[in-house]
């Protein structure tokens, strides 16, 4: 069960027609390091054409640039980060982050960790977990470049987060997922339903562990860049049934989550999740959960 036709048929059954999408590069201003207008004006003076992303606050699409925006002095000084537009949504969904204790359970390459630190204005504490050593160096470089000072990074499997013996107010679960065809041209040739189900199992383990380390009434934001319902709505349905969580209302870009997946009725509250089909951004899914007391 793989191949382009198989997956495209699934998307059709879920109510969406496959289309080719050309992704625009996006940047996010690190407002802890510089003012938004200042950075925009500096980039424009270099000849970079920017377009404000309508559904985000400090974020722009790069419309035209004759050079890589990842090699400017402004980038190297941490004044902005390159981060896909949809990927900028999850960190913005927590009600209040300043001075909180936050877990970023699958942190590399660190784009969302820096965004969390930016929203927190370097206050409070972020604990960032990453399993692979190789990726931790990239994460550390990202933190140093963006002048993040409130984060501790551990080489740890997110499924073992309780070993830290800490409780968190907020947990970001940007879980490893199957990805989607927009960011990987070879996606349809590489992926099968078995991969998707394997990833979904691992995601449920990460989710269960994350709920364990979240304080009563604490918030969890679950996100994937997968289009497959097994990694999204079905996992949230499982969490509602098996973990002590409920889905919270969010107000962000995207459509409501699916409550009927291939004929299977899911918990109605899953409609509060957001599913983003590829278009202006890559495909994405995001959900906010609250741990019940």
């Amino acid at each position: 069960m793989s191949g382009k036709e198989f997956f495209v048929n699934r998307y059709r059954k879920l109510g969406w027609t496959y289309k080719q999408v050309k992704l625009k590069q996006a940047i996010r201003i690190n407002t802890m390091n510089a003012g938004r207008d200042e950075v925009v004006s500096r980039l424009q003076s270099l000849g970079v054409a920017l377009e404000k992303i309508p559904f985000l606050e400090d974020d722009y699409w790069i419309c035209k640039s004759n050079f890589s925006v990842g090699a400017t002095a402004e980038y190297l000084l941490g004044l902005y980060s390159i981060q896909e537009a949809a990927a900028q949504i999850p960190a913005t969904l927590f009600a209040e982050l300043e001075d909180k204790t936050v877990l970023d359970s699958c942190a590399s390459p660190g784009g969302k960790t820096v965004q969390l630190a930016d929203i927190m204005n370097n206050s409070g504490v972020i604990v960032a977990l990453e399993l692979k050593k190789r990726k931790m160096f990239a994460l550390a470089n990202q933190l140093e470049r963006c002048r993040v000072t409130n984060t501790a990074v551990y080489q740890m499997d997110a499924r073992e987060a309780s070993k830290l013996k800490m409780k968190f107010d907020c947990v970001l679960l940007d879980v490893p997922c199957s990805g989607n065809y927009v960011t990987d041209k070879d996606w349809f040739n590489k992926r099968s339903l078995e991969d998707v189900e394997r990833n979904a199992r691992r995601q449920r383990q990460i989710l269960a562990e994350a709920v364990k380390v979240t304080k009563d009434d604490g918030e969890l934001v679950y996100a994937t860049c997968s289009l497959e319902p097994e990694e999204n709505e079905l996992n949230i349905d499982w969490a509602i049934a098996n973990l002590n969580v409920k889905v919270e209302e969010i107000n962000c870009h995207g459509e409501g989550g699916l409550t009927n997946v291939f004929g299977r009725e899911l918990d109605r509250s899953i409609e509060k999740c957001r599913r983003i089909w590829p278009g202006q951004t890559q495909g994405f899914f995001v959900c906010k959960l609250r741990r019940q007391a």
Binding site: A73, L76, L77, F137, N150, L164
Partner: protein, 181 residues
């Protein structure tokens, strides 16, 4: 002595930072400055935490850019350079006298931070001539030791290759190809 490497490094810029030493942690060969909350809350065994200050390798100290930024916030040896010079410096080049906008009281052998026109720290270098007496605008005035272009070079570097320390004077650095004209 604890923190000696950092203090000695900062002193090279005629600067002094009033550290709260209880918040500085050495983890293997790396120094980190933790916030009080980090110090209280996070367990040992981290890979990276707080503000990374730099690493000690043998007799050399490899400063972080966060440390350089902290030094730049104090009264320290600083040179402000023009836009073109700032860009060439980030690309690993040395600085000619003509590119210096501010700070001509430094003498040969001094270490200095290099700032752009926005007063942002781009790295540091070593003065190669007495700036006040030097009349040749085309003479190299500052030898580049470390610049923020290192963030790009690190990604290309193989894991075992070393980055520049203040003792190496940039000798092992790969050249950075400018992407912007």
């Amino acid at each position: 002595m604890r923190m000696k490497e950092i203090k000695d490094f900062v002193a090279q810029f005629n600067a002094r930072i009033p550290w709260d030493e209880s918040l500085i942690v050495r983890n293997r060969n790396r120094y980190y400055l933790l916030s009080k909350k980090l110090k209280q809350q996070v367990p040992k065994g981290f890979f990276y935490a707080g503000a990374y200050l730099g690493a000690v390798k043998g007799a050399s100290f490899f400063p972080s850019f966060l440390l350089l930024t902290m030094i730049a916030e104090t009264k320290a040896n600083k040179l402000v350079v023009d836009k073109k010079t700032a860009w060439l410096f980030i690309c690993g080049r040395d600085i000619f006298k003509r590119g210096i906008l501010k700070g001509d009281n430094l003498k040969k052998g001094d270490y200095t931070l290099i700032l752009n026109e926005h007063n942002e720290c781009l790295g540091f270098g070593k003065i190669t001539c007495n700036l006040r007496g030097e009349t040749d605008a085309n003479k190299v005035a500052v030898k580049n030791i470390l610049d923020i272009g290192d963030f790009l070079r690190r990604e290309k570097r193989k894991p075992k290759q070393q980055k520049s320390s203040h003792k190496l004077q940039g000798g092992n650095r790969e050249s950075c190809k400018p992407v912007r004209k």
